[in-house]
Symmetry: C2
């Protein structure tokens, strides 16, 4: 029940205070100090201010401890489908194996918030830490994890995880910018975008990157060319048919993930359009499967395996009582130019009217 905490190694002079020293000095429980330190909200404003004042004055030093050798790390997906989860699992597994932790996988049946049963299981397993992917616990669930000193890292946060929760994402905005700039540089001006769902931060950032690249190039954003999607293959399929039926169809489509891009391929094939001759397509993610699409898909690589490594490394640091140097990390995306993008065919580039 009690966490194994080593006694602080004898440090001289004005060393930062430990949790127990802070609690004693503030005249509150260690649990209360822990809540303040971990950014939980269920602490009165006066108490919070006092503890924060002491930390500001004296500094705070977490108790170092070793993670239990045969412990468990929880990895939670909203959905187990496609290549995405396996890329993340592979990265997390590299770290958990090294740290001699078992890796427990759960799926939330498509929901982005775990149910109560899940939390009870995690608590009864006494897991050493939790990584949620494209999903996250409720405020109450987070508080219960924190009360047991079970750290949490959110990987690829779906919504805003809040400042208190450490998270690992990709540079989605830059990725969107780079993808669109690549198409602009090839000479495209009619560039459509298939978006992610509104509530998905990653998708919104990609869309904003697209807008920013068009703005910078002085190409007006045509609302007709922005198609609301849900990261599904079907998005690419339906929107491509609609887009290519426009009086002025696009010469290039930027899909918010590789799945959507594959839907575009499918619709193009059905319409007898050749990629990239008649239509350029760019995706996002760089899923291994689609490197072998015909033609191989130009896409923005999201380093999912590295994101898994990073999230697990942060989690284990936290489980060992270390303070993270950085609570919000974005790993770099990279444009992977393959064969699905090319200069637009002459006849398909309408003159831009000012």
């Amino acid at each position: 029940m009690t966490p194994t905490e080593e006694s602080p190694t004898g440090a001289a002079s004005p060393a930062p205070l430990t949790l127990s020293q802070l609690a004693e000095m503030a005249g509150v429980s260690m649990a209360t100090v822990s809540k303040v330190v971990n950014g939980q909200t269920d602490v009165g404003p006066k108490t919070r201010a006092m503890v924060e004042g002491l930390i500001h004055e004296h500094g705070f030093r977490r108790q170092r401890r070793r993670i239990k050798p045969a412990g468990l790390i929880e990895l939670v997906f909203h959905e187990l489908a496609g290549d995405y989860p396996i890329e993340v699992i592979r990265g997390v597994q590299q770290v958990t194996r090294e740290a001699r932790q078992g890796l427990v996988i759960s799926e939330l049946g498509g929901r982005h918030v775990p149910g109560q049963g899940w939390l009870e299981s995690v608590l009864s397993r006494r897991s050493a830490g939790v990584i949620t992917v494209f999903s996250g616990p409720t405020e109450e669930q987070r508080a219960r994890l924190a009360a047991r000193e079970i750290p949490l890292v959110v990987l690829d946060p779906a919504g805003d995880p809040g400042r208190a929760v450490p998270s690992v994402g990709a540079t989605n905005w830059s990725g969107g910018l780079e993808a669109t700039r690549h198409l602009l540089e090839l000479g495209h001006r009619r560039i459509a975008m298939i978006t992610g769902p509104d509530w998905a931060l990653a998708g919104r950032a990609r869309l904003d990157g697209y807008r920013a690249a068009l703005d910078a190039a002085g190409v007006p954003v045509d609302p007709d060319l922005i198609c609301p999607g849900d990261f599904q293959i079907e998005d690419g399929l339906t929107h491509t048919h609609r887009l290519m039926d426009l009086p002025e169809p696009p010469t290039a489509i930027f899909a918010s993930n590789d799945g959507q891009a594959v839907g575009v391929y499918h619709a193009a094939y059905a319409r007898g359009l050749r990629i990239p001759d008649d239509l350029s397509v760019i995706g996002f993610d760089d899923m291994p499967a689609w490197r072998w699409a015909t033609p191989p898909l130009t896409t923005v690589r999201q380093p999912l395996t590295e994101m898994g490594v990073m999230a697990a490394t942060m989690l284990i640091s936290m489980a060992e009582g270390e303070t993270l140097p950085q609570r919000r990390v974005e790993l770099g995306t990279e444009l992977m130019i393959r064969s699905s993008t090319a200069a637009p065919a002459r006849r398909r580039t309408p003159p831009i009217s000012a």
Copy 2:
């Protein structure tokens, strides 16, 4: 340490014997009886014969017990790559979630036999059971699992798992037969096959199904058209180039998995061959990603998710002390006809010389 066993519910007359009754009657330890019952090999032939005689005479009834509610089930992959693992995980997860078991995933870094460290972790976690996928523990590791009453199920056995180990596979031979028969019925006579590695049972069964279909149709097997592969995309790529350079190239290629089929697509695209007009392609597995290939891949569906459900269900039955009605289960494959197969083009069908 001691397994929680409920006392047998009062049964009348000539009820089959329990493990402890058998041990007492035979004058050996319960561990020894357990080994005989579980098909382990490290029991002397005389002792085995005696115990088996008693079981034959009186019958044997496993002690029913409930699986510990917050226990762990281990799922072990030789490699976490591609769609295959996620399909299996999804199936296993359905059952473990229902049974309130945590699902621990391990990867063996490409090896088909777990290392010693893995076994120690499983034992220290006191897991309720183990499923190995396309891999399996050594005889010694199996004995150690059995000694702790940790049941084992092998999913898609790579080699022969032995009679004693419960396993779940697919009807690979029938699948190979059906794929080849489909191509024959379309009128193909020059049908190439890219195989799996020699040591992989599933791949050998698919090859034998191919041969059987050709034999039944009176089409001689041409050794030039049988290409040794390793279930890799690259197999499809390299062999297709070689095959299409033959004086009499095939009009159809049967790939032993969808990955290889994608390699064939790639090579065909590079050579300017249209699928299925110039070359028919059929795969094996039915990975979700390739349903969206252009053209959509005709393939033999291997029910990986259902295999995961079956393996986990068998495992939990064993963990609860039930005797499996069937230790070796093969779930049916299904031919999924999409758009990558068609009748051979006239000019490409050479006359068969007797």
